[in-house]
């Protein structure tokens, strides 16, 4: 298929991406600094700069279906170091959201982990690690994954068995709501 046809196919996705991310990807000049500093870059199927290149060329479908966007740990090293001021981490985030909406999530378990994580945050206003481990293991079906870490962590008092809420759970909730509202606006939460 020619590039023109591929771009034609992607036209709707491209404008959706631009609207949701608000990132001007044309600024990227492919220096590779984002890939160079990425802590999980070694494990990505498509390196960060190639994700940027795909997005730049408007081949959103391909970027969206990659596993790389799910491995991204949102550490924001790429954004911090980008010489052209491109918010690379936000590109990754937008691609993840779009992948969910378009039902093409490549790393389903990571996506489920995110869901559990957000649910706990909503309920507790902060992280509750045993809940996160159990919840993640339940939804992914890997019941005993990482359980061997539990005993030493408990012994070192790194985990508390009983649930604990944030003291200012209302404020946390307001923050989350505001962030979600901003994300629905044009250009995303930027």
């Amino acid at each position: 298929m020619t590039l023109n046809e591929r771009q034609q196919q992607n036209e709707a996705l491209r404008s959706e991406f631009l609207r949701r991310s608000g990132v001007d990807v044309s600024k990227c000049y492919q220096c590779g600094k984002c890939s160079a500093g990425c802590p999980v870059g070694d494990h990505m199927d498509i390196p960060t700069n190639k994700i940027m290149r795909l997005v730049q060329m408007g081949l959103i479908d391909e970027a969206m279906q990659s596993s790389a966007i799910w491995l991204c740990a949102s550490c924001v090293t790429c954004t911090t170091r980008c010489p052209k001021g491109v918010d690379v981490a936000h590109v990754m985030e937008t691609l993840r959201q779009m992948a969910k909406d378009h039902n093409c999530v490549a790393e389903k378990n990571i996506d489920k982990f995110h869901t559990v994580w957000m649910n706990i945050l909503h309920k507790m206003g902060r992280m509750y690690e045993p809940g996160l481990i159990v919840g993640r293991n339940m939804v992914t079906g890997n019941i005993f994954q990482d359980t061997s870490f539990g005993v030493p962590y408990l012994a070192h008092r790194k985990l508390k068995l009983m649930p604990y809420k944030s003291n200012n759970i209302d404020e946390i909730k307001r923050m989350i709501e505001k962030a979600e509202a901003m994300d629905r606006e044009e250009g995303g939460a930027r």
Binding site: M1, T2, L3, N4, E5, D24, S26, K27, Y29, Q30, N49, K50, R53, L54, Q56, M57
Partner: protein, 668 residues
């Protein structure tokens, strides 16, 4: 009686760390002719020079040898130094014990010292044979010739003229203006090329110090710096310039048609024509190849003549012939510019046969308001607006296998400029640019390129195009995106190639006529890539603009100004010093064979008849005669002369043999 002073320089540690300078000075102390020898840290320094001058006075020296760096570096310094102490400056010799010894033999100090001693002995033997020579003087013709009437030539002529000197612009085509007049807009400011060029053209044509010689070619250059004798062929215009008023009536009814070169053959022009509306001089010429009258004359008939009937001034002159005339100039500036590389050698790009695969200069004409499409960007094949345009960079550039090894420097910017112009004219048209590297080192250039991508939405794809082929109505472009590492195909309506810049096809012949050097690609060679960028190896000939190498307009204009300064410095002198190191013929030995005459590159040798008394009778015979002011001292005649009659002053056979003897004595 020779009294030679020998001075060995340490050049800091450059020589001193390798060569034992004190030992060198000591070992030549008793060499025949030497009256004094010493060593010093820096001979070229002021105390060093004073040391030489004091030694000349104290030891009554009449010859001096300095062993130090290359004569290219300091020969002038030391010649001036000995002259100050009252010696003739040619009673001085330099032994190069740095470039020829210490630098190349570092770490082999013992052998280097031995070699330095040999080199110094050779110089001593030579200087003992040196003769007193006097510099000559030649007058300067205070007038310059600029060859080429493009922007570089125009700017150079204006700068010279504004300094108060007479200057002629020699232009081969009917009008000055050059390539810049064909270009629509200029980067990085997108100002109209004609709008900034035509005022300069008008200024040049109306300047009291500038004379335009258009539709004329360089035929022959004789003479030397300050006194060039240039023969110019004024081609037959078939229009009497003194009568023509430039009204243009003659062109309205002309039935002869030819491809319009100015518009890159995208349309036809009449046989009697001016190349473009703002042409200067705005007086037409008849192209005899396409004129019906001249064509019919070849067949023995005599038809048409419409232009002559229409001309209200009676300026049409079918009988005009080429005219040769000779002018004298003090300096010559070469500003012959460039041509566009012919992409038809690339089979993969369609051998130049697809009408919709065009070059950058074609595009300039397409987008120009006075061009063949009145500035509408349309496909040449069907005059439809292209919806997808692919641009390909480095066509002929950076391709040592099929094209040129060099980067043409301007293509990255003109491609970016043309891409933005397409997006401006046709906002719905997609533009893709295939590139290997983007090279935009110029003021506001990289910013312009980034705007092209970010604001104009031009898509850059890193990789060369492998093939372009016709696929129905469109052109299929196959390339590689090396950033993604995959093949890419694009259906394009039009492809614009960024062709390389090559020298004017005539450049090599021109260089031979003027007597300057050119490189493997035909660009004129400057005298030094860093420190002599506008000079040539031939004194009095300078370079301006793209004839020296690919250059954009700002660089051409800057170089034109630089060349003008050099010309003015030359013309500001009333007399020029000439080197006395020229050839001399010994009439007693000369057999008059004349072999040296055609060998001389400066046409300085002629045969003359002399009278001699032989065995009581007066006979006449021919001998070679050398014009000392034309001779540049190259020595070609001395090696050609079978009887050894020709001898180069300061490099005579006796002097060179003395050096060889000095060297051989040590070996034996």
């Amino acid at each position: 009686m020779e009294r030679v002073g020998v001075f060995i320089c340490h050049c800091g540690s450059n020589i001193g760390a390798v060569v034992d300078c004190a030992r060198v000075a000591e070992s030549v102390k008793d060499y025949p002719g030497v009256a004094f020898s010493t060593d010093y840290k820096y001979m070229c320094s002021e105390p060093g020079q004073e040391m030489i001058q004091n030694a000349i006075r104290e030891h009554n020296l009449n010859r001096v040898v300095v062993a130090s760096c290359s004569p290219r570096m300091h020969e002038k310094t030391f010649r001036a130094c000995v002259a100050k102490a009252g010696l003739n400056e040619y009673m001085f010799e330099m032994a190069n014990i740095r470039e020829h010894c210490s630098w190349v033999h570092a770490g082999r100090n013992e052998e280097a010292t031995e070699k330095a001693i040999d080199l110094v002995k050779m110089a001593i033997s030579k200087v003992c044979n040196n003769e007193v020579l006097m510099k000559g003087h030649a007058p300067v013709t205070k007038r310059a010739l600029v060859v080429g009437g493009g922007i570089a030539g125009i700017q150079c002529a204006l700068d010279i003229a504004n300094n108060g000197y007479q200057v002629d612009i020699l232009e081969r085509t009917p009008s000055i203006g050059g390539k810049m007049s064909q270009i629509d807009k200029t980067f990085p400011t997108i100002d109209c090329s004609a709008c900034i060029l035509t005022p300069k053209m008008v200024e040049a044509s109306s300047h009291p110090n500038i004379k335009l010689i258009t539709f004329a070619e360089l035929e022959k250059v004789d003479g030397y710096v300050g006194n060039f004798e240039v023969t110019i062929r004024s081609k037959a215009r078939s229009v009497d310039m003194s009568k023509c008023t430039g009204c243009g009536t003659c062109m309205t009814k002309c039935p002869g048609k030819a491809d319009d070169e100015f518009n890159m053959n995208l349309r036809k022009r009449t046989a009697i024509y001016t190349p473009f509306p703002q042409a200067i001089p705005n007086k037409p010429v008849i192209d005899r190849e396409s004129c019906l009258k001249f064509k019919s004359r070849k067949e023995g008939k005599d038809v048409c003549g419409v232009c002559a009937k229409l001309c209200p001034a009676g300026a049409i002159d079918y009988e005009q012939q080429d005219e040769l005339f000779t002018e004298r100039y003090g300096a010559i500036v070469m500003a012959t510019g460039y041509e566009q590389f012919d992409h038809s050698i690339y089979g993969e790009y369609g051998y130049g046969k697809y009408p919709d695969v065009i070059s950058g200069l074609h595009f300039e004409r397409l987008v120009n308001a006075s061009g063949p499409t009145q500035g509408h960007i349309v496909r040449p094949s069907d005059h439809k607006e292209p919806k997808t345009v692919v641009m390909v960079k480095c066509v002929g550039s950076r391709d040592p296998e099929h094209g040129k090894s060099y980067c043409s420097r301007t293509c990255c910017m003109y491609t970016a400029k043309q891409a933005t112009m397409i997006r401006d004219h046709c906002p719905d048209t997609k533009v893709y640019v295939f590139y290997m590297d983007v090279r935009t080192p110029g003021k506001l250039y990289d910013e312009f390129y980034n705007r092209t991508r970010e604001e104009y939405g031009v898509e850059y794809i890193r990789g060369r195009v492998s093939k372009i082929y016709q696929d129905g109505e469109t052109l299929r472009v196959k390339g590689e995106d090396t950033l993604l590492g995959r093949q890419i195909e694009i259906d394009a309506d039009m492809v614009i190639l960024a062709n390389a810049m090559i020298p004017n096809p005539d450049s090599e012949r021109m260089a031979q006529i003027v007597g300057i050097g050119y490189d493997k690609d035909g660009w004129f060679t400057e005298s030094h890539p860093k420190l002599g960028p506008v000079e040539t190896h031939t004194a009095g000939v300078f370079l301006a603009g793209a004839c020296q190498g690919p250059k954009d307009i700002p660089d051409s204009v800057a170089q034109a100004g630089a060349a003008a300064v050099k010309v003015c410095a030359l013309l500001s002198k009333d007399q020029l010093e000439t080197e006395p190191t020229v050839s001399k013929v010994d009439n007693k030995l000369c057999s008059g064979c004349g072999l040296c005459v055609p060998v001389c590159p400066y046409k300085a040798i002629s045969l003359e008849t002399i009278q001699e008394r032989v065995a009581g009778k007066t006979i006449e015979r021919q001998v070679a005669n050398i014009n000392g002011s034309l001779c540049q001292g190259c020595g070609a005649c001395t090696v050609t002369c079978r009887s050894g009659a020709a001898n180069l002053k300061h490099f005579t056979n006796a002097q060179i043999l003395a050096e060889v003897d000095a060297l051989c004595q040590t070996i034996l």
